[in-house]
């Protein structure tokens, strides 16, 4: 009787250990795989952001059309031909400047609500036609 109980305890401990080891190793493996997937996705999206396409007269890189912001100003970034005159106009502000390189960046104030900003590039080479982009940004004070 005692011998049989001892055998039952031995096999119970043995099987319990085997199952526990398998469970722990599986959970560890699963956790590692999930974390790895997120890392890959995050790093994979980075290069696309810096990819500047071939220059047309003007390209707006930032902000995106119909972006919602919670600040009363934004930084407008884009690309155009070097030496172009950039004119930005909205009901809130007018800005005019000449670009010193192909990339431009300027702060622009926003009014509460919808902001329709006309951004026009007049190329230095006057054989190229001016090009206008309309950018809509929402400054919403959601509190």
């Amino acid at each position: 009787m005692k011998k049989e109980i001892g055998i039952a305890i031995f096999f119970g401990v043995l099987l319990g250990l085997i199952v526990a080891i398998v469970m722990v190793s599986q959970v560890r493996k699963l956790g590692g795989q999930k974390a790895g997937t997120i890392q890959t996705k995050t790093s994979g999206s980075q290069p696309a952001k810096n990819n500047i396409s071939a220059l047309s007269v003007i390209e707006i890189k930032e902000p995106k059309e119909k972006d919602i912001v919670s600040k009363n100003s934004i930084t407008i970034k884009g690309t155009t031909q070097k030496g172009s005159l950039i004119v930005m106009q909205s009901p809130a502000r007018d800005v005019a400047f000449r670009t010193e390189s192909e990339i431009f960046s300027t702060d622009f104030p926003l009014a509460l609500g919808e902001n329709v900003i006309a951004i026009t590039a007049y190329p230095k080479d006057q054989k190229s036609r001016p090009q206008e982009k309309i950018l809509t940004v929402y400054y919403l004070d959601e509190q």
């Binding site: 009787m1 049989e4 109980i5 039952a8 305890i9 096999f11 119970g12 401990v13 099987l15 319990g16 250990l17 199952v19 526990a20 080891i21 469970m23 722990v24 959970v27 560890r28 956790g31 590692g32 999930k34 974390a35 997120i38 119909k66 919602i68 005159l85 004119v87 106009q89 909205s90 009901p91 007018d94 005019a96 400047f97 000449r98 009014a111 509460l112 609500g113 919808e114 329709v116 900003i117 006309a118 026009t120 007049y122 006057q126 001016p130 206008e132 309309i134 809509t136 929402y138 919403l140 004070d141 959601e142």
Partner: protein
Amino acid sequence: MKNILLTVFVGVFIFTISTFAQTTKESTPSSTRETKEIQEFKEKLASKVAELQKKNSKAISGIITDNLATRVGMKTLDNVTYEVKIDRELTKIYEIAKSQKKEIKASDLKKGSYIVVSGPESGRVINANYIYVDERFTTGSGKVTEVNSQESYLKILSMEKDTLILDLEVNTRRQIMDAKTLEIGTVGLSRIKEGDTIHYVYKPEDTGREKNRFTAQKILVIPQEYFLK
């Protein structure tokens, strides 16, 4: 006898699993790292969910077509119709005037008003978190084709080749860019010439005159001298 043995076996089996798993989890350095990884994974998951919720929540503007207290019909400038659902407890409604917002009621939303709605959208239905009654402005640019000082208006050929008449009133902000310094200053109608480039902002409201005639909110003139250099 068999029952006793089976009970002992199962009891020891379960006890061993739980004890071993618990000990492994708490005591070894690898389990601490694992817990940290799980925590990081949870945080990343939560941030992704928040990002997706933010992504799903967007702002759409348009004109109110009807108002049924808990539901507002809206048509965008691209002629897309939306149903805006208003939750009496959750939806906040504001009117924007001079960059200040004032809370109003759903019943204050009038047909024809221009609104900006923010909230999650699905299948042309927006569950509004916020509704803002806003002013609608149109911006554009073109060439001045006629300056009428007597009636104080400018005729403009827009970049899209449309002819536009802009009335300059007392409140119209009139500006010009200096051709050399690019600085922006004020300008009178007498300094504006045919052939100048002009940027303008106006409210597309019916003035009761020609269909293409509006009151300018502001103008910015780029003198033709800038392009003659």
